[in-house]
Symmetry: D2
Subunit: 434 residues, 4 copies
C-alpha cells in the first residue's frame, strides 16, 4: 500500500500533530501572531495566511525603538485581519523587572535577564488577545534552538492549556523553504512585502526597556570582541563623561521609589520614568555592559552580550541597602535560592507553582528593605558612597548598644567555645592535626 499526500501540507500537519495530536483541518482558523514588524515575523505572517489562517498580528511595546505605527500598517498590508499594538511598558517595569531586581536575580552570575523577563509578559497579553479573539491558535517567530521558544510556549500552555502553537522555525516545511535571510528577502519580493534597505547586522539583537541583548553571527566566536558600534544603550567607559554623576535611590520593601540625580538636580518617583531616566544617565556613564557564555535550557552553551544600564545600577544599590536592613539568616536562605529563582526566569517558568513559591520568599525577604543609597556613576562604575535607613538593623542606627541590652565582650568566650565543641571532637577523632 502506498499513501499520497500533498507534500506542502505535511510539515505543518506534523508540526501541529506534535503539538496537539488532533488537529486535522486548519482551514478558517484564526491565529494570533506575536509580530515585531521585522523580516522574520513578516514572512511568518504571510506564510500563515497562505496556509489558510486568519492572522491577527500582535505587537508588544516594551520600550524597544520601533515605529509601531509603521509596523501596524505593514502587518495590515501583508494581510493581517487585525493588529493589536499593546503598551506593556509600565507592567513590564513594575511586575516583571522589579520582581527580578528585588530578588537580585542574576543568571549564572552575570545576566540580568532582560529578555527572559519580557517573554512571559508578551505571552500573557497574547493569550488575552487569543481569548478575546476566541481562538486557541498562537504563533511566534522564535527559533528552535533558543530560549525564547520555551519561554513563549510554556507560558502559552500554562495560561491557555488548550493552546495550539504554530512555531514555523520548528516546522520542517518552513525550515526547508527558508534556509537563510536571502530566501526570506526573495519571498518578500515575490509577495510585495517591503524590506528595509538597511544592511543586515552581523548579529541578532533583542531590545526592551530593560536591556538590549546581542548574540549569534560574529558573536558566536566567544573570543571575538564586540565592535564599539554595536552598543546602543551605553557609551563605552572610555567615552563616558570625565565627571561623576551623583545619585541617591530610595527603596521601599526592595522597590526603588525615588531617584534623585543630585548632579543634574532631577528627581523621579514614577517607576517607568525613574527607570527610563536611569537608563539614560547610566548609559551615558558607560554602565551595564556584560559579555558571557551562558547555558541555555535547551542544552547548549551560547555567547551573549548585554547592555542593562538602569538594571545594573538598581541591582548594586539594592544589594547595598539590603546590607543595612536585612537579617543575616534571612539573607543566607534567600541567597541560596537566587540561582534557582534566576534559572526559573531564564528557563521560562514564570507561570509555575515553584516560581510562585519562590516569589513569595523573595517578597517576604524584602519586608524590611527600606532605605536610601548614595552612589556615583562614573565611567562604567557604580560607586556606593553611603546608605541610611529608618529601619536599619545596624546597631549604631537603632540607637546605641544599650538598645540591644548591651554587648559584653566576655560573652564571646562561651560563644566560641560552644561553637568549637564539635570541632574539637572531630579533630580528636580524626587525629588530623595532632
Amino acid at each position: 500500500m502506498s499513501i499520497s499526500i500533498r507534500a506542502r501540507s505535511i510539515p505543518l500537519y506534523i508540526n501541529l500533530l506534535l503539538n496537539e495530536a488532533r488537529v486535522v483541518c486548519i482551514s478558517n482558523k484564526k491565529v494570533v501572531l506575536a509580530y515585531s514588524g521585522g523580516l522574520d515575523t513578516s514572512v511568518i505572517l504571510k506564510w500563515l495566511i497562505d496556509k489558510g489562517f486568519e492572522a491577527v498580528a500582535y505587537i508588544a511595546d516594551l520600550g524597544q525603538q520601533e515605529d509601531f505605527k509603521a509596523a501596524k500598517e505593514k502587518a495590515l498590508k501583508i494581510g493581517a485581519s487585525k493588529v493589536y499594538v499593546e503598551d506593556l511598558k509600565k507592567e513590564f517595569i513594575t511586575n516583571y523587572v522589579f520582581t527580578a531586581l528585588k530578588a537580585n536575580a542574576v543568571y549564572e552570575g552575570k545576566y540580568l535577564l532582560g529578555t527572559s523577563l519580557a517573554r512571559p509578559l508578551i505571552a500573557k497579553k497574547q493569550v488575552e488577545i487569543a481569548k478575546k479573539e476566541k481562538t486557541t491558535f498562537v504563533s511566534h517567530g522564535a527559533t528552535g534552538k533558543g530560549n525564547d521558544q520555551v519561554r513563549f510556549e510554556l507560558a502559552y500552555l500554562t495560561l491557555l492549556p488548550d493552546a495550539t502553537i504554530i512555531a514555523p522555525w520548528k516546522d520542517k516545511e518552513f525550515l526547508a523553504a527558508f534556509k537563510g535571510r536571502k530566501d526570506m528577502i526573495a519571498f518578500c519580493g515575490q509577495n510585495g512585502i517591503p524590506v528595509k534597505a538597511t544592511q543586515a547586522k552581523p548579529y541578532s539583537s533583542d531590545a526592551n526597556l530593560m536591556h538590549i541583548s546581542y548574540e549569534a553571527g560574529v558573536l558566536e566566536d566567544p573570543s571575538f570582541e564586540p565592535k564599539e558600534e554595536m552598543f546602543e544603550m551605553t557609551a563605552s567607559p572610555e567615552q563616558a563623561p570625565d565627571k561623576a554623576t551623583e545619585l541617591s535611590i530610595k527603596f521601599e520593601k526592595g522597590i526603588p521609589v525615588t531617584l534623585i540625580d543630585k548632579t543634574n538636580k532631577l528627581s523621579y518617583t514614577d517607576p517607568q520614568k525613574l527607570f527610563t531616566y536611569l537608563n539614560t544617565i547610566a548609559g551615558k556613564n558607560g554602565i551595564g555592559r556584560v559579555d558571557l557564555v551562558e547555558n541555555r535550557f535547551v542544552g547548549m552553551k551560547s555567547r551573549g552580550v548585554y547592555e542593562t544600564p538602569a538594571g545594573t545600577v538598581l541591582m548594586q544599590a539594592h544589594l547595598d541597602i539590603e546590607g543595612l536592613t536585612m537579617d543575616r539568616e534571612v539573607k543566607q536562605i534567600r541567597d541560596s535560592l537566587i540561582p534557582k529563582f534566576a534559572s526559573l526566569i531564564y528557563n521560562g517558568f514564570w507561570y509555575s507553582p515553584e516560581f510562585e513559591l519562590l516569589k513569595l520568599v523573595m517578597d517576604k525577604a524584602q519586608e524590611n528593605v527600606t532605605g536610601t543609597v548614595n552612589l556615583k556613576l562614573y565611567k562604567g562604575n557604580v560607586i556606593i558612597t553611603g546608605r541610611s535607613s529608618p529601619v536599619s538593623l545596624y546597631h549604631e542606627k537603632v540607637a546605641s548598644m544599650d538598645v540591644l541590652g548591651g554587648y559584653d565582650q566576655t560573652d564571646a568566650v562561651g560563644f566560641i567555645k560552644l561553637n568549637a565543641l564539635r570541632l574539637k571532637s572531630w579533630a580528636k577523632q580524626k587525629g588530623k592535626f595532632s
Copy 2:
C-alpha cells in the same frame, strides 16, 4: 565569711577559667602571641610578661607593609623570650586565596574575604610554633566584638584541642586597665615601649597581600563616604590612567597559571609574583574597592570598606572562563553552595569537616575550568573581551554541531511539551488562568 584575693590576678584567673576551667597557676608558662609590632599587641606582650608568662612573639608576614626586622627588635626589647617571623605569603596565595577565588567565594555578595582567609593560616602557623615550643598557651590581640577572635580561636581549638587561649580584649582586668588608645600609650611610656609618633588613623585597618580592610571609627556611620586618602592599594577610578591595560589570564582547573600584560609586555607564572603584579596593575587602574554593611558571626552588623585589586580581577576572569567550560547543572549546584562556603570562611570554620566537604565540591567543580580570558582594566572596570579554551563545552569550539550528533529543531517541540505537562495540570486544577 569573706575571701581575699589579689585583685590584679582575678580577671586573668576568671578568663582562663572560662576558657579551660582548670588552670590554677600560670607561673612559668610559655605563651605564643600573634604579634604585629603595633600598639595593641605590644601592650599585650608586656602585659603577658607582667603576668608571669614567658612570651614568644610570632610575626606573620602575609605581605602587609611592615618593617619586620624593627618589629622583631621591638618585641625582644619589650621582653619576648624569642621572636618568630614567618613568611606565609606563598602559602597564603596558593592554599588560601586561590581556594576562595576558584570557588567564587564572596561573602554577602560583595566581600572577597581577604582578612577571613588570612586568619586560619596565621593560627595554623601559631599552633605549629606552640607545638615546637612545647606549650598549649596561645594569645592574640583581636577584640571581643569582631570576627577575628572567632577565626583565631576556632582554629586554635581545632588544631590544638588542648589550647589555652589568652584573649586580653575579653579579659575584664585588661579591659578595665585599657579603656582606649590613651591608656595604652601611657602604659608604653611607663614601660619604655616605643610608640610611633604618627597620628592615629580615624579607622582601623588590616592589610595583607590580598587586600586592605577598613572599619570602625569614622566608618561606623554607614552614610559616611570614606576620604580618598584612606585608600592604599588602589587609585580612585578618577585618578586611574586614561588608557586601558590589556591582560590575558590563563586558568588551569580554576587556578590562574599565567598572566600576560599585553600592554606592558610582561608575563607571570609564579603564583605569588602573578598575584603581586596583578595587585599593582589593577590597583593602578582603580579596581577593587568595595563598601558594604556586613553581618558578623557574633551577631551584629558592621560596615567595612575593602580594597582587593588582584582578587577582583581574578574573580571576574574566573567567573568568565567557567561560562565556557563548566557544565550547567554542576554550576547550578555549585552556585547554590557558594553562600555557605563563603560564610564558613567568614565565620572562621576553615578547619572543619563541613569546610573540607565543600572544598571538595569546589575542587571537583573546577575539573574542566581551563582556558584563557582576555580582558581590559580601565578606571575601575574589568572588561571581559573574549575567552577560549581547549576543553570548551561550547559546541562551536568542540568542533561543530555534528560532534553532538546534530540538533534537530523539532526536538524542542517534545521537550517543551513534556516540561509543560505538570504546568498544564496545575493550571487546570487551580483554574488560575482560565
Copy 3:
C-alpha cells in the same frame, strides 16, 4: 589591696552580670519561674525566694500527666507569691504541632521535635505573664548543657528584649550547692518542701501532648536498649493488638481536619480531640517509638528516645497526600528546605525572621494539599492503603489524559534528546566513556 565580698552573693551577681551587665541589687525584684511541680524547679523556686526575689510560679499545661492543682498548692506552700496554671494544649496542637507536621519537619531524619515545639510556646506565655506582672525577670530550670535553655532564652530575649534571665543551672553558686539529686532532697528536707516518695527514674523525661522524650542516665550508653517499662505512651509492637485498626484522615491545606476510625466507628474533627484520640489508638497499636543519637545546638551529641504516636501517623499520612496533590518542583524546593526548617525549631529559633520566612514557604507549599488518606495501624506499622483528593494533580483523577491535551509518546524523543545534549558534550570532552 584586697577585696571582701559576701561569698554567697558572688555567683548570682556574676551570673546576672554575664546576662545583663547592669543588675547590681536584686532586692524586691519579681521573677516569673517556669515551674513544673517537680524536684528541680521546687528547689529553684525556694532558692530564688531566698535570694530576695518575689517569685511568681507559672505552670504550663501542655497535656503532660500532672496534678496541676497539687503543683499549684506546692508552689504556694514553698512561698510563691502567685501561681499561674495555663492550659496551652489547644494552641500547642494548632499553632505549633501542626506547623511542624505540615512541613514534614523531622530533625536529623528521625526526631519529630515534640519538646522543641513546646518550649517556644511555654516561653511566649511566660513573657506574657512577666509583662502582666510588670517584671523583666524570668527563670527556668533547664540545664546548661541541653537544648531547652537555648529554646527558652532565645524566645525570652526576642519576645522581651529587656529580659533578665535567671538560669540557676548555669549559676556557679547554685551548681556548687546542688551537685546531685541528693543535695536537692536534703535542701527540701531542710526547707519543708514535700518530695515524692517515688524512686527516681534512671533517666530523665519530658512529656507533652505530642510526645514523651527520654534521655540521660542509663540511656547515655548509646548501645543500651531501653527497658520496656520505660515507655508510657505506646505499647510495644509485640504487645499491640493482633488486629489492625483502620483509619482515614482528611487533610485541608496540609492540616488534619477529620479523623475517622473505621474499626471502632469513631470520628473527630476538633484538633485537640483528634490528636488526643490518635495518640491513644496509635499508642495502643505500638506506633511512634524512635531511638537516635542526635546533635545538640550547643555542640555535643546526645542520645534520645521518643514516643510520638499521633505525630508519627499524621506525618506518614501527610507525606502520602502530598504525593497526590503537590507539584513536583514545589516538592523539590520544599524538601530541600526541611532540614533547615527542622533545625531552626530544634535550635530554638521559632521566633526569628528566618523561621517566619520558611514558615511562609511551608504554608504556601500546602496550598493544594487537600485530600483523604486511608491507612491501617498494626503492631508498629502505619500502612497506607489508598488516597484520594478533589484537587489531585494525578491525571487519572483530573479526568483523563484529554484534560491535559493529550500525551504523545513521541514527545519523549525530543525531551530526552535535549536533556542529553549537554551530557553528550560533556562525555565527548572528557573522553570519559569512549
Copy 4:
C-alpha cells in the same frame, strides 16, 4: 506534486530521523536489544528482525526470578543472531545499590529507587556489548510515558554519544500495530513465538535483587488497595513471625560489611550474600512495602507500590550509625543535597557531571561512618536497639568530657546571648513582640 513511500517503513524512518536525522537505509545494520524473555521484548525482537536488522539479544541478570537459559533459547528461536546473558548482580549491589544507600537516597521521601538504580547499569553493559559488536544501534522495550526510557536513553547517549536508539514504543507504526496485549499475542502466534500460558497480571512489575515494583493496571486508581497476593518478596506484617529476629549490621565508611543474624546464628560479609540473605529475612518479617504517588521526570504523576526488604533495613541502620559518627554540619549540608541526589538517580542522570559531583559529596560525608547497629526485625518494624562505633563523635565514647577540654555550663550564657543579638535587633525594629 505528491510523494509515494511504502507505508510500513515510514514510522521507523521518522523515528530514526527524530533520533539522529541521518539514517536513510537500515538494511544489514546490527542492533543490540535489551531483552527480558517476556512478551514485549520478544515481539520487539521479531519486529526488529523483520525490519532488516541483525538483532543481538542482551539479557541482564540483576537477580530477578527468571529462567535465563530458557530466555536465551527463546531469543535464538525468534531469530537473534547472538544472545548475551550478563550476570550484573555483584556490580549492581556494590556500585549502584550501596551508592544510593550510603547517601540515604530516597525519592520523594519514600521510594528507595530499586528500578532507577538498575537501569544505568543495564545500559552501561548494553553499550559495552554494542561496542564489542561494533554497532551504534541500541534498542529497548520501555514505554514512551515512563521513566525507564529516559534512564536508558540518557545513559546510551552519554556512554555512546553516537548511539542510534530504536525505541519501538515511541514508534508510530509499532504503536499502531500493537495496541494491546492481544495484538502482541496474535503476532506471536503468527510468528511461532511461544507465549506463556499464564494469565496476565492486572498490573506491571519490575524485579531485581533490590526490589520489585508494581504499577499500572488496577493500581492506577490511587485509592485501590493492592491485594495481598501481589507481593512476592515480603510477607505481610500480619503473616510475619510472632517472634523478632535480632540482627547486628556493621558499617565501614557507610557500607555494610558484616551482617550477623543473632537469632539464627548466621553471619555474612560478602556484599551479594549479605544483601540476599537480608532480603530473605527482612521479607519474611514483613519489612519494606511502600505505596506512593510519585512524580515522573516526563511530567506526570504515577502510583507505585514497592517491596524493598533489605534496602529498607540497611537504610534505617545506616541512618542510625550516622547519628553516632557524622558531624552535625556535614549532616546538615549532606541532608540538603539528598533530594537532588535522589532526583538525579530517579530521572536517569547517573552518568552526568552533576551526579559525579554529588557522589563525591556523599562519599566524603561517609568518611567517618563506621560502626555497628543492633536491631530487631518484627512484623514490618525495623527496631533500632543500640549502636556503637570505634570512631564515635558522641563524647561518652571518645573517652569522657575531659577529652573535649571540659564543658563549662556558663559558656552557654555567652553562646545564647550572641545568638540572640540579631534577634533582639530584629524584634526591636519590628516592634513585633512589644
